[in-house]
Each structure stands twice: as C-alpha cells, then as structure tokens.
Subunit: 201 residues, 2 copies
C-alpha cells in the first residue's frame, strides 16, 4: 500500500466508489428488521444498546426487555432509564439461571417477559424493541421457540426487533434478516481480570 | 431439556453456579483494557457505542474519535453530543476513503485524528476512549502501525480504549486484552434492503 503512487491510489478508490454506488443503487427497500446478535464473544447486548443510542439520536422510541440480568445494577439501565419519554425499559429476569435454581420460577419470569415483549412489538409508538438475552430463555426451553418465532414474524411492518444472547436457535436464525455472530478471539478473564463497570455491565 | 425434572434442573444449575463462582474467585484484577472489535459483520462500532452508554450510566467520562464517517449525520453523534459534560466527541475523518480519492488528504485527516486520540488517552478525566474505525486508517497505512501500537500500550493505568473496524492488524491484536470478531451470518443488503436510521447509522 505504501508503495502505491497518488494516481494509483486515486484510481483504486475510484473503482471502489463506483462498485459501492452500484451496490447501493440496488438497495432501495426500508423495512423493519429482525436482528440477532449471537455467539460466544462479547458485544451482543452491547451492540443492542448501541443501536438503542442510535435510534434515540434520530428521535425514535425504543422498548427494552431484559430477560436475564435482573438483579444486577448495570450501566445501561442507569443510563437509558434517564429517557422515560423515549425508552420503555423493563427488567424481567431474575438473574442468571444458575442463581435461581428454580425452573418453575424461571419459566414464569420468562413468560411474563415475553408477554411484555409482545406488547412492545405491537406498540405503534415504538420503532425498535430490544429483547436482551431472549436466546438464553429459549435455550433452556423456558419459552416455546415456535410461539416466539410466530410472535416475531408477525411484527408490524417497519418495526425493528433485536434479539441477543448466545446459542440462538436455528428456528430463530431462519426468520432473521440480519444475524451477527460475535466470536471470542481473546478475553481478559483468561488473564485474571474481573468484570468491570462500563465495560462488562 | 424439557424432559428434565425440577430436581435435575436445580442440580444442574447448582453445578453451574459453583463453577461460575470458582471462575469469578480467580478474577480479581481491575485494569484499563485495550478492546478491539473487528470482523466483517455488523456491531463493531455499535458495540463501541453501547459501551459508551454503559460508561455514562456509571457517571464515567468518555472520549470518542470517529476516523472515517465524517460527512454522515449519524444517530450516535446526534445522541452523544447531548452530553457535553460527559462526552468529548470528535469527528475527524472525511468520509469513506473511496469518497475522497485523495491519499494525501486522507493521511492528513488520519494524523490529526491520531493526535486528538493521544490527547484523549492522556486525559486523566476520561475513563474510556473509543477510536471508531481506526482499523480502516491503519489498513490503508494512513498511520504507522508501530506508532499507534506504542501509543495504545503506553496508555495510563485504568484507561479503557476501544478500537473498531474490520481488518485489525496482527500487531494490534497482539497487544489487545479483549478481541471480538463480528462475523456476518446473514445481512439484509443481500435482500435489497438499504441502510436505515437507528440501525445502520
């Protein structure tokens, strides 16, 4: 790259620009997307919250249901709860499942969270609904995957829904528009560093 | 999973809880992390902005340098600029490189952005510095990778720095604490859907 002349660089960039314009020309549709962030790496929920920030920047309204992180005080909750006019924020889970050890209670919590999720998905004043860690509830079969998929597919036109959590089920991936897998390449837990405010929660 | 009895479930969760506690017991260190979000998928910058939201929720202060997205109006910029006391937000790039077609100008813009980045990294009032799309500037050799790595490694103790962008260089990965690769599994561009407010920018 460093050996490229100015003229060669301009030429290469011109080709890239033409390619990009041609690509964008074919992309004309706007519609509500079903977005899934999954994988073992970090950034699944974090990217969900980044999307919330973007949406708020455009004056949109957002619904958030947290399925799992119930007991924790988190930076995201403390932050987004400052915008009650734009954000409906519901923490429905009771903590990680290994903390409750009570399957019946976990199922009841997941069902209540899903009922709230359906309410938000139907709410015409919300542009984006973030269902944080829904995949965990699905993985433990706290919710029926077919009922959840049906509810997501039946969302109103124009409504974006973002589902996060590792181990996304294939039935969900099949109906999603945008799927990203966050893969762990290197993690500081391996080096003895603990979860930290602002970074991990 | 559905065939598991209540007792079996509680037992399995108890084992997971014990495993988790043992893992957490060994994680005692707090320190400023060098975080890299890379890969071809979505969510690299978005997760960076989610981290910013988290940090703000804890009352922390954040610096943001955007290396590439200069000309665009973005949701993230409109949103985070509402918090001038907590966020220093600098848009330094001039748009995607294929829009400028001027290597000398791109290099000058990248160098100015890097100077501002170093200033933020040294600023003791900032807890987190997000260097959005720095990897793009490095990929095109607009900045010297060794100088950048040296600047990142020399950051003050306790300072978190998050670098985003595809094609992260191996020299950067080598000194990072936390690396996530965002992998594209399915993208709506493939289905003719265009970039949308709140989701893509």
């Amino acid at each position: 790259m460093t050996d490229q002349t100015e003229a060669e660089h301009a030429e290469a960039m011109k080709a890239l620009q033409a390619e990009r314009r041609e690509l964008m020309r074919t992309k004309t549709e706007e519609r509500g997307l079903l977005i899934v962030n999954t994988g073992d790496g970090k950034g699944k929920s974090t990217a969900g919250f980044g999307m919330v920030a973007r949406a708020l920047g455009w004056g949109q309204r957002v619904g958030i249901v947290q399925y799992i992180k119930g007991k924790w005080i988190t930076g995201e909750r403390q932050f987004f709860r400052k915008f009650p006019d734009q954000v409906r924020y519901e923490v429905m889970g009771e903590g990680f499942t290994w903390d409750t050890q009570d399957r019946a209670r976990d199922i009841a919590a997941a069902e209540a969270a899903w009922a709230t999720s359906l309410e938000m998905i139907a709410d015409p004043t919300l542009d984006l609904v973030l269902l944080d860690e829904l995949n965990i509830a699905l993985r433990y079969d706290y919710l029926d995957i077919h009922a959840v998929v049906a509810g997501l597919v039946a969302r109103p036109e124009g409504k974006h829904v973002c589902v996060t959590g590792r181990n996304a089920k294939p039935e969900l991936l099949a109906v999603a528009d945008l799927v990203t897998e966050m893969t762990l390449v290197k993690h500081p837990f391996e080096q003895g560093v603990k979860a930290q405010r602002g970074i991990d929660f």
